[in-house]
Amino acid sequence: MSQIENNKGSIQVQNLNVYYGERHALKNLNIEIPKHKLTAIIGPSGCGKTTFLKCFNRLIETNENVNITGQFLVDGQNIFDPKVEITSIRKKMGLLSQRPYPLPMSIYDNITYGPRIHGERNKTKMAETVEYYLKQASLWEEVKDRLHSPASALSIGQQQRLCLARGLAVAPEFILGDEPTSALDPISSKHIEQKFIELKNQYTIVVVTHSLRQARRIADYIVFMYLGEIIEHGPAKELLSNPQHQLTKDYVTGEMS
C-alpha cells in the first residue's frame, strides 16, 4: 500500500497561524502527524497545545475573534476551506476532553446520539452499535444491565470511557485527546491509556498531555511546543532521550515545567 494511494488518516499542517484578536497564539506550525500512531503534544501551560488540538476538529471556531491562516490538510483536504462542511470534519475526529461530558440522556442514547444526528434510524443496527462500542471501550460488562439509566449516574472514569465509546460510534478516523486523563483517578487513567494503545492500530491518535510520564508511556511520536511554536518533533524515544533543542532538553529533564 503506497502512501499516495491511501490518503486516509493523514494530517499535514502547513504554515498554520492562529490569532485570538491581537494575540498570536499559534505561530507558523508545520508538521505531519504520523498515521496510525499515537502522537503526544507536550509543552508547558499556555504553549498552545490545546489551541492546536482544537484546530483539528475546528472547535476553535466556537471562540469569538479567531483568525486562522495556513493549511490544515486532513486526508489531503484543507479543512479550513470554506467549501468544507464542518460536520463532516468533526465526524472524522473523535474527541475526548479534559473531563467527561456525558450528554444529558441515558447511556444507550449517549452512544446512539452520533449515529442518530447523522441520520441512522435502524433500531437493531443501533443496538448492535451500542454493544460493539461499549465493548471497545471496555464498559459493556459494567453497564449492560442499566443501559437506559442516566449517563450522569456513572463514575467519572466510566463516564470518560462512555465518551470514548460515543466518539468511536460515529466511526472517526482520528481520536483526539485533550488531557483526557487529567480528571481521572490512576486506575481509570490506566484504562484509558491502555485503550489508546490498543486503538492506535485502527486510528490516528493525537493526545495533548501535561504529563511527561504519560507521554513516555504511550506516545510513538512527540511534538514539543513552546509559546505557540513547535520547537521540536520526532519519534518519542529519540526526542525524549536525545532532544536536539535546548528548550526541549530543559522541559524533558524537568528544568522547566
Binding site: 476538529n57 472547535l59 466556537t62 469569538e64 460536520t87 463532516s88 468533526r90 465526524k91 475526529m93 473523535g94 474527541l95 476532553s97 479534559q98 473531563r99 461530558y101 450528554l103 444529558p104 440522556m105 446520539y113 452520533g114 444526528i117 447523522h118 439509566s149 442516566p150 449517563a151 450522569s152 449516574a153 465518551c163 460515543r166 466518539g167 460515529v170
Partner: protein, 298 residues
Amino acid sequence: MSDKTRLQFDYRLKGLMKLFTLFAVLTLFIIFIGVVFKSYPILKTNSIFHFLFSSEWFPQKEKFGLFPFIVSTLWVTAIAMVLAVPFCILASIYLSEYADKKIIGWITPLIDILAGIPSVIFGIWGIIVVVPFVRDYLAPFFGKVSTGYSLITGGIVLSVMIVPVMVNILLEVFATVSKGLKEASLSLGATKWQTIKNVLLRKAAPGIVSAIALSLSRAFGETLAVLMVVGNVTKVPHSMLDPGQPLPALIANNYGEMMSIDLYDSALLLASLVLFIIVLIFNIASRLILRKMERNLG
C-alpha cells in the same frame, strides 16, 4: 477589640440576620392567615365551590360568584404565556448561543430597562397601541366586532411585561450549561441547532420550567396594566376577543368602594384567597414537574 467582643458581635449579627429571614417568611403566613380570616364570613354562608363556580356577581343582592373572574384570569394568563414562552426561549437561545458579545452588550441593558418600566406605562401603551390594533385588525380578521378592550389585549400587554423577567432567568439558566458539553455534541458532528435541541434545551429543561413558573406567578398577579386594557366587564367570556375582568382587577377596582354591603368586603378577600390558591397550585405543580425531571436527568 478583644476576641470575646468580636465573637459576641458575630453571634448577635447572626441572630439579627436570622430574625430578618424569619420575618420575611412570616409575612407570607401573616398575609395568608389574614386573607383566610377575612374571607371567613362569606364562607360561612355557602361552600367555597359555590363561589368558585357561580357566575352571578350582584353585590347589591349579595350574590358573589367568582367564576367570570377566574375564567378571565386564566384566559389572560394563558394568552400571555402562549405568546411569551416561545418568544422568550428563542430570543434567549439567540442571545446565549448565536449573538456576539457586542450585540449582547447592547441588548441586555435594554431588556433590563424594559423590566424597570412602571406597570402604568405598559397600560397606557396598551390603550394607545394594542387596543386599536385589536379593534381594527385582529377582531375584523376573525370576523368579530370588538372595542379593543379584551382578554387578548390584556394578554398581549402582559406578555410584553413578562419578557424581561423570563429572558433574564433563561439567560442565567443557559449560562449554566457548560461549553464543554456543547462541544461534546459538536465534536460528534452535530450542527448547532441539533446541539441546542438535544443538549442545551434538554440540560436546561428544569431551569426552563422554573422560569415559566416564576413568570406565571408574575402574570397571575399583574394588576394595573391588565386592568387598564381588559374591559372590566363582569361576564363569563366566551372568546379571547370578549372583555373580561381578572381577579386582581376585580379586587383593585372595587376594594374601598364597597358601600355598606355586608359581605362585599369578605367576598373580595375571598377573591384574593382564590388568586393566592391558584398561584400556589401552579407553584406546587411546577415543583413536582421539576423534581420528576431532575430524577430523569439524574
